[in-house]
Subunit: 189 residues, 2 copies
Amino acid sequence: MSGTDTQESGARSRTRRAILSAAASVLARDRTATLADIAVAADVGRSTLHRYFPDRDELLKAVIEDSFEVLYESLTAAALEDGPPLEAMRRLVAALVDVGDRLQFLFGDPRTLEGRESTEEPDDPQPGIALIERGQAEGVFDAEVSAAWIEHALWALVYTACEDAARGKMPRHAITATVIRTFEKGILR
Amino acid sequence: MSGTDTQESGARSRTRRAILSAAASVLARDRTATLADIAVAADVGRSTLHRYFPDRDELLKAVIEDSFEVLYESLTAAALEDGPPLEAMRRLVAALVDVGDRLQFLFGDPRTLEGRESTEEPDDPQPGIALIERGQAEGVFDAEVSAAWIEHALWALVYTACEDAARGKMPRHAITATVIRTFEKGILR
DNA sequence: GCAGTATGGGACATAAATGTCCCATAAATA
DNA sequence: TATTTATGGGACATTTATGTCCCATACTGC
């Protein structure tokens, strides 16, 4: 449940991760990318790729799974349950930005997650939602809109800022601050 | 320059529009949709589709063009130059929500617009940007972040809310109000 | 050095989407 | 009714991604 490394040794584990990482990165930018493209990006032969993931669907599933794990680790490290909601929220933003590539892959195409809505991960349903609800209960966050909407709005802003950064429209170091500013206070002055 | 209907009569014009509309709708939900899928959605034969648009690229270009026209009309009707920036901004949100489908198609995949950044439409570069800059100059909007970022943030929120609505997560009538609320004031209370 | 493992690359078959061509037919028009 | 126009559908070649197989070659640990 915690990891896929049952008894996978050295090299195999390393190339597997290289493939998964490259696939996430490439597919985030182009959902229609070829397996050959991914193999090149991962710096492995196409044969090797097929050796690890028999077909495209298997690879896709694995990348989704892996991306969720990466995302989950980042969120766990952010310790969203600790401290004032506002500060936790800022850590959340930073954590999401850190895994921007994976976010872009997971949520770039709604079809990617199709069947996964609420059937997975029975424990710890939504760390972000929990934080937002806590903030709403403490009167720190807007309670007139749903927690789900707030989370979606946050993801959308992070996603957009990462995209802007990827296209050189915004310096990478500014992502977190910009998102936090707009997300917290909106654009009115 | 103003339209593609040089002397296209009756039936042709009608099926052309049917194809464009169906293509936008289908492609918004699945960028990898087949030409056959689009033909079915438009209720025409695949041959007919090829008769109007020789190949996939031609169709894509036409759908993009058409979507921009629809978007442009909606923005023009919003008369963003008139009245206080805040009210104009709210009309802008409503206008964007109205053409949510086209937005979802145009901006759902960053690759769709690839080469189009600032080379097109020399006149009226960006109605939204102009409004935002006006608002910033008048001290109504946040001037600490770029106008481009504000516009992207707005589109992201509209896009996300439309998606939520499309999946039944939010009533359609709430889209505009929710986006405006979060966009203007953020989530802090 | 030697066995076992991991890999890259080529050859190949298959499936699917695409683009082209042609013909029969329905609809509009004169 | 006769003619033009628009269409649907089938047949076909082409292209492209995919998946499989096989072999030579590194690399690893003994």
